[in-house]
Symmetry: C2
Subunit: 410 residues, 2 copies
């Protein structure tokens, strides 16, 4: 991909609106456009990162036998009245009447709608278990949006829902989802803490939260530096008798055993082995997909810009051409791109008519894991100079060595 | 993919709400769930088809140098006031105030927001041309939703926008998009007519519509059976002196030369070569992605169900196992699936504990282009019986012949 033909509008100055590091770097790095307070558009680079995260999530959901669907954003209010959550979520729900007087809302979550789907189509224990998930925009009327994608009025969630015939089935699906979540956050290279939590407005018995330690977090856990454990309550560690320190956390995932709260309220029943009508035993499993972008940047950046982990890189290689008048350099760049493409790796070729300083600054800001420089040095020595963004390590490679190194590292 | 682990809830009876063939077959075939009148959720099979179409569109957009982004669904009303389209689209726009009293709407289209993005980031002719596009849900307060995805309150659009420094640039991008559109509809196996059209509420000078002939269409063109041409106006064909017949059409794509209507109204300027401030010359290019699903089904079905073209098939092969007690059949099925996977082809293995009749009916209803039957005949002869959904042709193949045939046809 040629930078000159793509659309990565980096900003030289910090936007006034930026409230924290990730917000500032995502705006400056051409990933996000603020349409209005708490409302963001994903520019092409931001969308590529969002897709990387979404595809990691899909891989691990599909591996657990979950099937992807895509529910409507608009929902009839009548299904919310059945569970009483029209009142519980009243403040943050975006509601309106349409031209025909029908009461609609924009889905802040989809437990009610998925329960209607199960009610419509699942009638026998033979069809169970079922896990369905989607990756989709959700809406909340946030009074105080903050830090870009950390708390916004429109955000992207992965929400999964399990339907089982009995508690053992729920137990099994719940632990499968916990496993998948651990793999997902690991693959996103996020440092994450798992905490048991209240179920609150969701109902049900047990729940687990996946939280990323970060200064800008809104949740607080208490940390024992001796045993390296986190606790919900402040005080001292029972085991170590060590004072606990508060740590700010960003909530990235939340899984709940819902039990029969929704199925009973919405009369979603199936026939069990004995032919008895029973409500589905449900679980729900959320991940803040867009919030992961911000959390990764909070955990992985330096004074020069973002440092994407290999797994989320919008391109695998940022190839900076220093002399545009020299045709050989562009030819070499296109050749490297073509070879890497056969290995499934993508290259951003910075062919802009800009000073070297601007190109280097942008390369550090964008945070693509490897930067390859093609300039005088290459013309004199025939060697490719590769820089690893995270460590600053520099390598001097033949073309074969370069390809092998990148292929092995990704 | 095992049918028993996936979620394809077919219906034996026609839903009451179904108004036309495509609506009926998509509901019965486990593709769509109606959440409320004019509001649909895509079940897993429907989502796979939607993704096939989206990826065809992406391929042809990217080939023309367009960059994909993902804009917000929520939009501030103030940008619509700049162009006056808050009034033009008042009836169909879903509008509301948030908790802080901010006036927002759900985007029925994104000319205003993309113009704000161009205004923010594009300042010089050197950055032009730029084409940006997205594939995303749009919202319209339809008074009379009809025929499922043909006219719904929530639907999926591909909307692209071009920004040029001069009319020649627009001309070039416009014709590139026309070419891409022809390739897209061809790859979707749709019979489509291109008509010049009024620009109406969009403003600008020229526009072209891409329409699919279908009985349920809402637009009318007039057809000359002698020269096989379509016309906007009724009457008789100038060339053939033949009476024109009205033909119903579904509008699937619409492209517009917008000129400077939006850039002037929103003060979106760039500096040209001479250093003069000029408004961007714009074009916009829409495709009704979800509507394509319905149009394809209208054009391609029989009394038994849907007939997907190869390019849109949710799976490439529907493999029906007739005797579940025979382990060899499932083993063979999984082996065929594994081999086809290496060729990039996906298989739905119908391993449900259902009578053969139910499985055949569902196979015809779902419309996967090829049906492979594994039963007694296979056990006796070692031959794979393949049926082509579209023609009913039957083939008897060895495993090698089967793989080669499918590989060649896709």
């Amino acid at each position: 991909m040629l930078y000159s033909k793509f659309f990565i509008p980096t900003l030289r100055e910090d936007p006034h609106s930026a409230e924290c590091v990730s917000h500032r770097l995502l705006l400056r790095g051409g990933c996000l456009f603020m349409a209005s307070s708490g409302i963001y558009s994903y520019l092409p680079l931001g969308l590529r990162i969002l897709n990387k995260i979404s595809n990691i999530i899909r891989k691990h959901m599909n591996a657990e036998g979950a099937a992807e669907l895509f529910m409507s954003h608009l929902q009839p209010m009548e299904i919310w009245q059945k569970t009483g959550r029209d009142k519980d979520l009243s403040e943050v729900m975006i509601k309106f009447k349409d031209r025909k007087g029908r009461d609609l809302c924009l889905g802040p979550t989809h437990e009610e709608e998925i329960t209607e789907i199960a009610k419509r189509y699942l009638s026998s224990y033979k069809q169970l278990p079922v896990i369905l998930y989607q990756i989709q925009s959700k809406f909340r009327d946030e009074f105080r949006p903050r830090c870009g994608l950390i708390r916004s009025c429109e955000f992207i969630m992965k929400d999964a829902y399990s339907f089982d015939a009995d508690e053992e089935g729920l137990e099994e699906n719940y632990s499968r989802m916990l496993d998948a979540y651990n793999r997902i956050f690991k693959e996103c290279d996020l440092s994450v803490v798992v905490a048991t939590a209240d179920s609150g407005v969701m109902g049900g018995s047990t729940s687990h939260e996946f939280m990323a330690p970060a200064d800008i977090g809104e949740d607080v856990l208490f940390y024992c530096s001796k045993c390296d454990n986190y606790f919900r309550e402040q005080g001292c560690c029972d085991k170590c008798k060590n004072d606990l320190n508060p740590k700010k956390m960003i909530e990235l995932g939340h899984v709940f055993k819902l039990g029969t709260k929704y199925s009973k309220a919405q009369e979603a029943y199936f026939l069990n082995k004995e032919g008895k009508r029973c409500p589905f035993i449900m679980g729900c499993y959320g991940i803040g997909v867009s919030r992961i972008i911000s959390a990764v940047v909070e955990q992985s950046h330096d004074e020069k810009g973002i440092i994407w982990p290999n797994s989320l890189a919008p391109f695998e290689l940022n190839l900076v051409i220093l002399d545009l008048n020299n045709k050989e350099l562009l030819e070499q760049a296109l050749e490297v791109e073509a070879i890497l493409r056969t290995e499934g790796l993508t290259v951003l070729i910075d062919d802009r008519d800009e000073p070297a300083g601007v190109k280097f600054n942008d390369a550090y800001l964008l945070g693509i894991p490897y930067i390859l420089i093609l300039g005088k040095k290459f013309l004199n020595t025939g060697k490719f100079e590769l820089e690893r963004r995270k460590t600053g390590e520099k390598f001097s490679f033949s073309k074969q060595e370069l390809i092998k190194y990148l292929k092995d590292d990704y």
